[in-house]
Symmetry: C2
Subunit: 493 residues, 2 copies
């Protein structure tokens, strides 16, 4: 009940039938669409439904955005000229769309450059391997390194091996990622990537290999960052494509010793920079109150970052543009942030998601007026659930959201908002309430961080459904008076 008291402001606003008739909505249609308690001064629920329907009818902005972004610039590694060119293009495009306050916020970082890389079996027979160095990995010696492979089923098994037991060898962890709708299978294998090189090096290994953190069975390795320890990654780490990991496991099952040669000319660029791109639909009544929408503009270097996270940027830009193009501004400001450098770890604290920290550093003074934040960074498949801040539980706001989103297949779901996103993470940790529009990730990790993350993988109907859900929810939050923060503790008398 406490939560519902705090977010029921929405219901205080009376229907203004003049505004509705200006929008061509009859009172009869209104009664059907928005019973009793959901009305606002401009009938926020009806407008939300109209935004939803405009998006699902085939709003072309999102697809055009991700098509042009990925076609013109291809991969956009953090700190690269390509990422910078994409950011400049985004600024120009957002200005042309009529957004307010469009600008860049630059920040320094250490960039990592893949260079050339290769892997091959040298025993029992010569065979090529498909590998990708883990982000942050140091290069191998020129000409590569070679060693016998020691296979571990899990990272825990590797961590259990005695110190010195892997001297001169290459450690391979073969745990398979589990396919799930909510993406939970990914979290279960990411520690291999972040901790594997350290754990292998501590035991004397000369390199670390892992089965790709991905659910496909293609000869494409899944990139991803490893973690620096005291500013360094001790030994080179590589992901193997899943069929290659299968092959090594089968060779070992035949009782054959497996030797592998790995080469990488990876390098670091210490004085690189990246940037966040910011654009707003300024609020008409309380512009200082911000609903924050995040996605990231950088990508891994193997694919063109279509699903990760070109579509995220496309979804939030298209949703905000639908709101921008309404005849009335929302009461609050809708702020779009296209984060730079989400993907690569940094040698020094804070170690990851550098655009996220730059935003938090630059805007911390505004956080008290950040009413809600959400992030789109799990591909382009349909949204199947929405999670609102605990303070919204049972509120008229939540019920309105559900009425608007139910027709496009969205459930209300209780879920940890710690999952809300990497880019908005520092902002949410600072106390800004978050929402989650949960995308179906069943197929996302088939292409995630691979060369296969390209435009052809996007389902336009599902992309539009994302835009619909974002536009409707963001509009409702931005045009409301709702406060999503938990109530202050009641002092004991």
């Amino acid at each position: 009940m406490r939560e519902s008291r705090r977010v029921c402001n929405l219901v205080r606003r009376a229907a203004v039938l003049v505004a509705l008739s200006m929008m061509g909505v009859s009172a009869g249609a209104l009664a059907a669409a928005a019973p009793a308690a959901g009305l606002t001064s401009r009938n926020a629920e009806t407008i939300a439904a109209q935004l939803r329907d405009a998006a699902t009818a085939g709003h072309d902005v999102a697809y055009s955005w991700v098509s042009e972004l990925t076609t013109r610039f291809g991969p956009r590694p953090a700190g690269s000229a390509s990422e910078q060119a994409a950011a400049a293009w985004a600024v120009a495009r957002l200005k042309a769309f009529g957004f307010d306050e469009v600008h860049l916020e630059s920040f320094p970082l250490t960039a990592w450059v893949r260079g050339n890389e290769s892997g091959e079996l040298v025993a029992p027979t010569a065979q090529p391997l498909t590998v990708a160095a883990l982000g942050g990995s140091p290069p191998t010696p020129t000409g590569g390194l070679e060693g016998e492979v020691a296979i571990f089923a899990t990272l825990a098994d590797l961590e259990a091996a005695p110190r010195g037991s892997l001297t001169g060898r290459i450690a391979l962890v073969t745990q398979r990622m589990v396919r799930t709708q909510n993406g939970a299978g990914y979290g279960a294998v990411v520690p291999e990537r972040t901790e594997g090189p350290r754990a292998a090096a501590e035991r004397g290994a000369i390199a670390f290999l892992m089965r790709s953190a991905g659910t496909d069975s293609h000869r494409l390795a899944h990139a991803g960052t490893t973690r620096y320890v005291n500013g360094h990654v001790a030994i080179p780490g590589f992901a193997l494509s899943n069929p290659d990991a299968d092959q090594i496991e089968r060779l070992a099952a035949l009782g054959l010793a497996v030797r592998v040669r790995l080469a990488s000319s990876a390098s670091y660029v210490l004085a690189a920079h990246s940037q966040n791109v910011i654009a707003e639909v300024r609020g008409g009544e309380r512009p200082q109150q911000v609903v924050l929408l995040g996605a990231h503009l950088d990508s891994w270097d193997l694919g063109t970052g279509a699903l990760d996270d070109g579509t995220g940027t496309a979804i939030i830009v298209a949703a905000a543009k639908l709101i921008r193009d309404l005849p009335h501004r929302p009461r609050r400001t809708v702020r779009v942030v296209l984060f730079g450098s989400e993907e690569v770890a940094q040698p020094d604290p804070p170690e990851g998601a550098f655009g996220a920290h730059s935003y938090a550093d630059n805007h911390r003074a505004e956080f008290g007026q950040h009413v809600l934040a959400g992030e789109s960074d799990l591909g382009a498949d349909r949204i199947y659930a929405v999670t609102l801040p605990p303070a919204a539980a049972g509120s008229e706001f939540a019920q309105t959201v559900l009425r608007v989103l139910t027709p496009i297949g969205v459930l209300l779901e209780k879920r940890s908002l710690e999952e809300a996103g990497t880019d908005i993470g520092p902002t949410v940790e600072a106390g800004v309430p978050a929402f989650l529009l949960a995308q179906d990730a069943t197929h996302y990790f088939d292409v995630h961080h691979t060369a296969d993350d390209t435009l052809d993988k996007i389902d336009r109907t599902q992309l539009d459904q994302n835009v619909a859900a974002w536009a409707a929810l963001v509009w409702l939050a931005a045009d409301s008076d709702a406060d999503f923060r938990p109530p202050p503790p009641v002092p004991r008398s």
Copy 2:
């Protein structure tokens, strides 16, 4: 009617109930399984059904064969040490299986070695491209070559361009392969690969690019051989992965000039050799009469040749082994040939499928006694149709085949037997009747000639259904008296 007269020998053989009872088949079951005219001395139809059922129950020989072949040896390019090692392994394994007359027949060839290769967009922005040099392509100059891309929708459009119109440029043909069940979409785009480098060179181009001859949308290019003209391939040719071809088309559609850099260190090995592996189940009554089963042991170099054609070799070996393990030999000989060097063209005539010509050269004197030939080389998905030689139309043999194969989902289909296979091509052209067990190729060209042609793509249930159809049909042909040759022309009186 003429054909049925010639293949009705099968029905002349009376049922031997003693033999049936030895096999545990009651007269009642027999009456249900093989009505009236289909009986033979050992009840060929009942045995065929038993072979079929043994295979579909989960006969492990085929999967184990292709698993070990592709795991131990990986890619098996024609003329390579890997192909030779695989052939030696196959000989040992076939001997261990108890086959007769197991031996190698070696032949010389010119091998082609891929070396290193790369492709990249250099304008309008730098982006990596996924390419594969076409087999037989000469290398580029060291450091690669670079040119503006001229796009043609079809090979015919390229052939229509004026001489000299492509001077210094790179010709790209973007025709998409059509997905079909019978594989016909492949034939429609293969001429791009065989004729493209010549056609582009004639117009002044410095290199030829083609959208991959494949139905997938992965960042994996489809290899395949081009054609030598007067012993040479004029300019380097490459296949682009399909998403890369899309990307170039989209850049051009934005009105941007596209420049590409291509590099290849491909080379030729003039004094290489390959080999056919031959094994038999010798016939018990007329061993000189041969039913020929073909598949090829070589593969392209990017994948491990699991579907092309590891499974073909596995299917025919497993089918022949089921027949080998019967308590009675078939009347005629079943001969398995694992052909070498099916994939790469040769500089001099005959230009392709060199193991095929070697077999024909070595065994032409026996062709009068080759009663039937078939080839398995379209992956491992289920067989959905059988085509028999025209002489078998309407015969009791055909009806028996249909009765045995209908329960596992096989239709009788009229089809051109020119499609029977590349490896048995010269043998069939010399007059040996052919059959076709048509595999479902709907998904085959997703992985064909790519790095993705690996063991994980095999569906074991469908693989076993292939073995079932092959074992049953080959048994029926080998244990019959049927003559599948067309009747001699009737002399005019």
